[in-house]
């Protein structure tokens, strides 16, 4: 067999062998190679020493109250959510509330979207005062002019069937 220590990729065979994870057939072939290869022999001896040293490192037992502390933390989180939702919980249980809430959202969105995004409108008070200053006699020609402007505007539309401009 090729010497596994020559490249990092195949050195995993040596690692597996030293951690007793290599299948018996491959282990037998490797053992034959180790007999004649000093580098692999040194690697295997060193790696076994590491493995045994790590085996000796036993971790400490877990605290007896580990679960109790964990469940207490979970309960604290759950009760925090409970406290936050408590004021609105009765509302959430009312029938029809979700529909009403959805309708409110739609209406609010509609009102917000309906606002023209153009130049700032004149002050409402000023507009009102200007309208009050116009008499019925003055209003009639103004309305006629507006109708005419609208008609011209309609004719000016290129996609309009009546378009003449």
């Amino acid at each position: 067999m090729n010497c596994p220590i020559e490249n990092q990729e195949s050195a995993e065979i040596l690692l597996a062998y030293c951690s007793r994870k290599l299948n018996p057939a491959s282990a037998a072939i490797l053992e034959e190679h180790i007999q004649i290869c000093p580098a692999c022999r040194d690697f295997a001896r060193g790696q076994r020493a590491v493995w045994e040293a790590l085996d000796a490192w036993e971790a400490a037992p877990v605290s007896a109250d580990f679960d109790r502390r964990l469940y207490a933390r979970i309960a604290t989180e759950v009760s925090l959510w409970d406290r936050l939702l408590r004021p609105i919980r009765p509302l959430l249980t009312l029938q029809g509330l979700p529909v009403a809430a959805a309708a409110l959202v739609v209406i609010t969105a509609g009102l917000l979207l309906d606002r023209p995004a153009g130049p700032v409108r004149p002050n409402d008070a000023e507009t009102s005062a200007a309208l009050e200053a116009v008499t019925p006699d003055q209003a009639e020609p103004i309305l006629q002019e507006m109708e005419m402007m609208q008609e011209l505007n309609r004719l000016a539309q290129p996609q309009s069937p009546d378009s003449k401009i």
Binding site: L15, A53, R73
Partner: protein, 193 residues
């Protein structure tokens, strides 16, 4: 890991039950993995108090994530990804240094290996303790990712592919991490043979 393979993972099934509101399944998962998570963190940060604090945070995060959990990988991969992430952050922030209870400060309550059925002598205890300190120092001297890879490989017996998923790197990167880590450990611990 594909969906079919994940479906065979019993832990993932338990987690899906937790997602459906079965808190008893969370208890089963905690019972099953508590020890391995705490021990992994103890060896990572080498501080009992910090390790337990981090382990609590791991299981708390598992519980918090129940509603969004999807079994896209083996449950233990996900669990150790959380644990490793927290451990690496703690090491980066030096949390393990600030606490009073480092592993090498007080080892009187550590389990001592019984070489026979009689109680170990004071001398044997001291030899064991010295060897243990050497192992700890050698492991804690490894770069954080190498340390995590060695601990998962040695104590959790994870495959290279699973370690790669936990550490979010390629399998060949894991092999390289382990090769370098064991090379360092051989240089430091070979005399213990």
């Amino acid at each position: 890991m594909g969906g079919a393979a994940a479906a065979l993972d019993y832990d993932a099934e338990l987690m899906l039950r937790v997602k459906d509101g079965d808190s008893a399944s969370f208890g089963v998962l905690l019972e099953k993995h508590r020890l391995s998570v705490v021990h992994f963190l103890q060896r990572m940060v080498q501080n009992y108090a910090v390790a337990e604090e981090l382990a609590q945070e791991v299981f708390l995060r598992v519980y918090r994530s129940r509603s969004t959990y999807e079994p896209t990988a083996k449950f233990t991969t996900w669990l150790f990804r959380i644990a490793t992430h927290l451990a690496l952050n703690a090491l980066r922030d030096g949390k393990n240094e600030r606490s009073q209870e480092r592993l090498d400060d007080d080892t009187s309550d550590m389990p001592v290996r019984q070489v026979s059925d009689r109680r170990p002598s004071v001398e044997e205890k001291m030899v064991y303790q010295t060897r243990l300190d050497e192992v700890r120092r050698a492991v804690s001297g490894l770069p954080d990712k190498q340390r995590a890879a060695v601990l998962m490989h040695k104590y959790e017996e994870m495959e290279y592919s699973q370690i790669a998923k936990v550490l979010s790197c390629s399998e060949s990167a894991v092999k390289s991490l382990l090769f370098r880590a064991y090379e360092t450990l051989r240089a430091r611990l070979a005399h213990m043979a």
